[in-house]
Amino acid sequence: MQTGLEDQLGLYQKRIPIFTRSVKGKFRRFKTSVLVLAYAIFFLLPWLPWSRLDAPAQAVLFDLPGRRFLIFGLTVYPQDVVWLALLLFIAAILLFFVTGLVGRAFCGYFCFQTLWTDFYIWIEHLIQGERPARVRLYRQPWDREKVLKVGGTHALWLLASFWTGVTFAAYFAYAPQLVLDFFTGQAAAAAYITIGILTVSTYAAAGLMREQICTYVCPYGRFQSVMYEAETLAVHYDARRGEAAHGRASARAGQRTLAERHEKGLGDCVDCGLCVQVCPVGIDIRDGLQYKCISCGLCIDACNTIMDSFNFPRGLIRYDSEKNLASPTPTAPKVQWKRLKTIGYGVALILMSAYLVYSIGTRGSFDRAVNQIRQPLYVVLSNGDIRNRYQIRITNKAGQDQVYVISAHGIPADALDLGNFSEIAVKPGHSGLVQASVRLSPTLAAQTHQFELVITPQGKPAEARSETVRFDSPGRRQ
């Protein structure tokens, strides 16, 4: 339908306030469990102690000035950035995989926008009461009660936002010290700016904007539709059952039991509107699958409650696939994974996760970079010998001081000159730099195209790593 000019006068739609009714059921229980678990992890993790030799005793600490992430027993350095790439890849694939199977499960149960909005609605409910009380409060003039209740709600929201910001910042600095410094005005400017921005943005996103973030801001909410297939499970209203021949109707006398309703050609939907009242994004699921739906399942809980009270069978609103709903002989909804796309995502997920685990599990205790000095590639010495030089950088990734011994394979032992550093001690998290030069006689140089430099942590021969390097001499082009 094309809208007339008169409807286009406002460029932006004014937000229609949503007052969600609370509901009980298995989806509500699941959402609450996820919320409690996620909050417990997010808010408590920075306070978990973890004994370390050279860093604050914090289990998870993203040490930006030290250029390292300390995650329990693992220290991640910038060189390990491939892990971050793998992690992001796995997260993306997991999202596609799950969405293809059961729709926007991430949006409905795990997304932090959903979690925080849920928590803020809970605060609102705690102070202002159930939906009718909130609607009444919204409509009444600004009297003492409204100022106190609305003000109290916003104050609690701001407090929750502030602590969200503090907790986020606590992942980047030693948490007890950060909190102390913050309140005594000693913390770094970055801490104040981060906490300030997060306080404001959390308050705005979870308290004020809520479903508008999902509808207007979030790109994932909008591109998820390409991941849906006809077999994808999503929250659906069974229109065939709910509307029947003559549509939904309230459960008045004479059309209260299923038998009476079926005789009159009425659907099973009693049009109580509870599914709309509990919806956090303010839609009517009975209009069909729509982009605003975050698939949180609360309407399923609401509808099941009503169906139970009328002794109707459950599942008028349920997780089902479009294909099954449209089928002349619908079966019980089940997860259908036997599709090329789903299997492809699943395989990619397993491969990449396995590679990440393998890569972390087999990481060496040090990082090395051996660079041949290219200016000049080789030097002819006074007796005709050829000399190549190499710069060796060793980064100690282990938790303690370590001495490294450098040796060479494939050339005579006396050809390698390490100056004063045949062994070098490196502090944890630091790098050591060694200049090596290799001197070969012209005959030997002509035969030697490459050799191996071996770096061995002293006392740990099993962790030795070798690096193949070129040897250049005049008159040879490789």
Binding site: E6, L11, Q375, P376, L381, S382, R387, N420, G432
Partner: protein
């Protein structure tokens, strides 16, 4: 279609009518745009107040903010805010951050610096920057020099010696390479004999008879080569006279010459024309003593020292 649009729309007019019936629609800019514009105007006024802005003749409005910096004479000055002072301040801060390292350089001996892993790392990075800024125009980025012009610092042949002390001396006082012109003193035949002798010292194909004559000439008072290059032709480091018996060539571009005849011709050219171009400037006074010390260790490491 368009008529229908006109009828159905309720856009306001500005209220003026010209020529009886000409009216103008009032389509105001979006509110957010207008307020953003006002905000930029306010921002501009605040900016003018704080930072330098309007020129007045040869002067300008300095703004209320100012900047305190230490100038190159070491005086602390306060001036209205400007980026040149900010740069000076930044440079001073960077110098202050480097100072502990340079102080350590000053207090340690060359051998101690070269053996300390942390200081060695500092020399490799800061020395590389100093070398690139000051030395690389002649000696090239890697210190490999240019045959015929600037000595290679990465080989093991040191004209004036490759110890820490001689490298330091070279850096501080500079050097001047000189070899007299023999073209007018000796005959062409004598120069050819000398060139064959020099070629024979480095294993280049030569005429044995000429080389034998050249060897005699080398150590005779006629040519008097041995005064500088010493009688065994191994040179004298105290005056920078090069060793003629090794494979390193600086002035005669022997490595690039084609065939033995070409190589001998290159040597002949140097003998007959002499040299007066091996000038290395003195760096004392241009670089700080600590910087020269850093460069000394860096250059020593380039060629492996002696």
């Amino acid at each position: 279609m368009s008529e229908q649009k006109l009828q159905s729309q309720t856009v306001q007019t500005t209220g003026h009518a010209w020529d009886g019936d000409l009216q103008e629609y009032n389509n105001p800019l979006p509110v957010w745009w207008v307020y953003t514009f006002y905000a930029t105007v306010i921002f501009a006024i605040v900016y003018w107040t704080i930072y330098p802005s309007w020129p007045i003749g040869k002067d300008w409005i300095g703004g209320v903010s100012d900047i305190t910096y230490v100038n190159s004479e070491g005086e602390t000055k306060t001036h209205s805010w400007n980026t040149r002072a900010l740069l000076l301040e930044d440079l001073n801060q960077a110098a202050a951050a480097q100072k502990p390292y340079f102080d350590k350089v000053a207090s340690m001996s060359y051998e101690q610096i070269a053996k300390d892993p942390e200081m060695n790392g500092f020399i490799l990075s800061s020395g590389k920057a100093l070398f690139a800024d000051n030395c690389a125009p002649c000696h090239q980025a890697g210190g490999q020099g240019v045959v015929g012009f600037f000595p290679n610092l990465t080989d093991d042949d040191w004209l004036y010696g490759g110890s820490f002390d001689t490298i330091h001396e070279t850096l501080m006082g500079g050097r001047r390479g000189y070899m007299p012109t023999f073209g007018e003193v000796l005959s062409g035949q004598q120069i050819d004999q000398l060139a064959n002798y020099v070629a024979s010292l480095s294993g280049i194909g030569h005429d044995a008879a000429k080389a034998a004559a050249g060897g005699a000439l080398f150590n005779s008072e006629t040519a008097a080569c041995f005064y500088c290059h010493s009688s065994d032709a191994k040179g004298r480091k105290d005056i920078g006279a090069p060793n003629l018996t090794d494979n390193i060539w600086l002035w005669a571009n022997v490595p690039a010459a084609d065939g033995d005849e070409g190589k001998i011709a290159a040597i002949r050219g140097v003998i007959s024309n002499g040299l007066n171009k091996g000038v290395m400037p003195a760096w004392a006074g241009r670089l700080s003593p600590e910087q020269i010390k850093v460069l000394t260790v860096y250059v020593h490491e380039l060629g492996g020292g002696q």
